[in-house]
Each structure stands twice: as C-alpha cells, then as structure tokens.
C-alpha cells in the first residue's frame, strides 16, 4: 500500500485487546454481554446470519485435518480499532474517525447516511448495517443501557470497545482526584472482557507497561489478523498452536516456497 494512504496517529493511550484463543471455549457469553451492554436489538430473523446485528461474533476455525489430528479453535472478533483504519478515510460525511486519544474508531450514528462504503472497506466484517427498525420485546426496553444511544434503521454501527465505560471510568477518576489519562487496569474493561468465563479476553492500554496487554501483545505467540494489509489492528490474538497463528493472515510467499 502506498505511503500516501497511511494516516499516522500518535496517541498517549492505545486501548487494546489481547484474546487468548487457546482459552476461548466458544461459549458466546461475550456476544451476549456485548448485545446487552450496547443496546443491540434482537435479530428479527435469527437464522439470517448475513444480516446479523452483532458487533462481536465468534468464528470457528478448523485445521481441516481428519481425526485424530483434527483440531478446532474459536476466535471472537470485535472491531479491530485499526491503527490505520480502512473505513474512516472512505466515509463521505466524517461519520467515522480515528481521532480520539485511546485510538478507538468512532461511529457517529446521527451523522451516518447509510451508504455502506465503510462496510465495503473493512476486511474484518466488523461493521454491521441496521437493516431493521430496532424493536425490543416488551419489558426489555427497560433494560437498555442509558450510556449507549440506540440507533435507528439505516445506519452502520460497530464495536466501540464499550467506549462509554471509559467515559464513566474517567469521571470516577476525576471524582477521586486521580489522573483520568492514567487509569488503573481494572477501571475500564469492555463488557465482553468482563464477562468471559475463562478470562480469555484481556484489555488495557498497549502503551502502559503496568497493563498486562502491554506484555501479552509482545508475546511470541501473539499475532494480529491480516497484518499484511497494513491495517495495524489494536486487537491481538494469542495461540500456542501454529496452525491457528497461520490462519491469522494470508501467506502467498510461504506457500510458494514450500511448493518449490
């Protein structure tokens, strides 16, 4: 990719996620927690996976080998909050940007015109379109999160790393007289990371050595999805299994070498 297309950001804080695939059981609790936390309405047709409203989904990976070598893995996929997002620069109306400290890619629903160009740009399918009018079963509307706005039909939305929780954490820090830009690791955790029963999802500031993600992201078992494209995701994955790490990217050259 040409240098002119890269947008370089420097942020003091770089919120990041490190997901340990070897610990993920594929239970889907993160998906449910995300849906409840972020006011994602139920899919009117749950079998229509192509119009799934979920911000976080779990992919099933297979090593495509027969028993007894057969192996599977589960890969939860939030928004990668790319360091060089493919989506933000294409939006015609500045509805999505990567301009805030922390590096979370924003999505402003009242600005979005629903052209879906960002969805065409994102190779991770992290962005979903609101195909339906949001409808909650009676009584469930009482459980909506007041810190997350509801979205109308016809706009694009995506995972925000539960950005509102960061806002809340900053307010708490200010009340205690602490520096809101230097939060404790436990002060701000997205719903998916909080709920994960096996502790597979780690979250924190990738620039802060006091946060565990700082160390985990530098592990020899860490990888990011589609690094070849130059998107520079802020979501890392961990696996001790070679075949899992290999499925994190497309490897044209390596295969060529192997065949020759």
């Amino acid at each position: 990719m040409s240098e002119s297309m890269r947008i370089h950001h420097h942020f003091e804080i770089r919120w990041g996620m490190v997901i340990d695939i070897d610990k993920c059981t594929g239970c889907g609790a993160c998906v449910v927690a995300c849906q409840a936390e972020n006011n994602i309405p139920p899919n009117p047709d749950p079998f229509d996976r192509m119009r799934d409203p979920h911000w976080l989904i779990v992919y099933k990976l297979s090593n495509h080998k027969k028993f007894p070598e057969h192996d599977t893995a589960y890969l939860p996929r939030p928004c990668m909050q790319c360091g060089n997002p493919s989506c933000a620069s294409v939006c015609p109306v500045i509805a999505t940007t990567k301009d805030e400290e922390g590096g979370i890619v924003s999505q402003i629903y009242p600005r979005c015109i629903g052209c879906r160009y960002c969805m065409a740009a994102c190779p991770y399918h992290s962005r979903v379109f609101n195909w339906f009018d949001p409808v909650w079963p009676e009584g469930m509307d009482k459980t909506l999160t007041p810190f997350v706005s509801t979205r109308p039909r016809g706009v694009v939305e995506k995972c925000t790393f539960c950005h509102h929780r960061w806002q809340i954490a900053k307010e708490e820090a200010r009340k205690r007289g602490e520096n809101p830009m230097h939060l404790d690791e436990q002060a701000y955790i997205p719903a998916c990371a909080e709920v994960c029963p096996t502790g597979a999802i780690h979250f924190g500031d990738l620039h802060n050595p006091e946060h565990i993600v700082h160390k985990l992201a530098r592990s020899p078992y860490a990888f990011r999805i589609l690094e070849n494209l130059g998107t520079e995701p802020q979501v890392y994955y961990l696996s001790r299994r070679d075949w899992v790490r290999k499925q994190g990217d497309n490897h044209f050259r390596q295969e060529e070498k192997k065949n020759s």
Binding site: T97, S106, P110, H164, E171
Partner: protein, 184 residues
C-alpha cells in the same frame, strides 16, 4: 440619486424589513412552543430564606456530584422531600407541590433546559474548573423559572448547547474536538 430611484428602492427596503421581522420574531413563535415547567420554583427563596428559622441552602446542596463522579442535575423528589415532607411555609405553591407530588410520591417532570439528545455525552466534572454560568443561566437571583421553549419539529429545548458552541470552546481551550469525546 434621483427621487424616482429612491422610490424604486422602497419595495426592497420594505421586503427586507418584513423578512427580518418574520425571521426574528414570527418564525421562532411558529417553531417553538412555550411549555413552561410543571410547578414553580424560586431559587432565591431557597438560597436566602425569608423565615429566620430555616437554614439557607447552597447551590451544591441540590446540584451535586454523585459518588461516581456523575452529576445529579435537577434534584429528585426524594431530595426535595428531605425538607418538604410537610409544608414548611405558608406559600400556596409549596402546599400544592407537597400535595401533588410529595404525598402522591410522583416525580416532578421537570423540563431540562439543556437536556442533550441521546447520542451526546457530557461530563460536568470534566468541566469543573469553569463557572456554571459560562453555560447555564444564572439562577442565583431568580425568583421564578425561565420559560421553557420546545422545538416543535425536534422536540428538543431551544436553549440546548449546540455542537458548534462545544467545538468553539474546545478549540479555544486547545482541547480535542474528537467525535467520541462528546458522542455516544
């Protein structure tokens, strides 16, 4: 300029004046409806009690930060009832307030002058170093509540803080104007 030319300008001047009157006076009346507030409230009456046996209040007694740093805004019925469980004065509006809201345990549906839309986030504590009156009307010496104007099209208050006002101050103070700073 000849007299004829001057007369020729007259329709334009009249039209201009009419447009100004329409834009500044008539159109706002069409667009906004004065909703007022459900009940009266006197800030001066609470800050400087006329009756000697009652304790004077301070602004932060009602408008305070909660333990988690969020701002309480307009006090809830429970806050009011801490003092007004029974009528304290002979003021008739207080008696109506006690009988209509406190006794019936019904929250007062106050109209918030600067209530932001659902997609906007604002942290009062982050703006703690500024005077309240930089953004809010000074109510310290107000004996009654100002009129509440609602935009008939959007349903929002007329006096809401506009995005360009937030952005202007942030630019002036050299603070970030990133979308996610204020949007949710």
């Amino acid at each position: 300029m000849s007299k004829k030319k001057k007369i020729g300008l007259l329709p334009f001047a009249a039209g201009f004046a009419a447009a100004l009157v329409f834009g500044w006076n008539i159109f706002p009346q069409i667009l906004y409806s004065n909703k007022g507030q459900p009940t009266t409230f006197s800030h001066t009456g609470h800050l400087n009690h006329t009756q000697k046996d009652l304790q004077d209040l301070d602004c932060v007694d009602c408008h305070y930060y909660r333990a988690d740093g969020s701002f309480a805004g307009t006090p809830s019925l429970e806050s009011c009832a801490e003092c007004h469980n029974e009528p304290l004065t002979g003021v008739p509006s207080e008696q109506t307030f006690v009988s209509e809201y406190v006794k019936k345990d019904k929250q007062v549906p106050w109209n918030t002058y600067q209530g932001q839309p659902d997609n906007v986030y604002f942290s009062h504590i982050a703006h703690d170093t500024y005077e309240c009156t930089e953004c809010h009307q000074d109510m310290e010496n107000a004996d009654s509540l100002p009129p509440y104007y609602e935009n008939k099209l959007t349903g929002y208050s007329r006096d809401i803080m506009k995005m360009h006002e937030c952005e202007r101050c942030h630019a002036r103070e050299n603070t970030s104007n990133a979308c996610y700073l204020c949007h949710k």
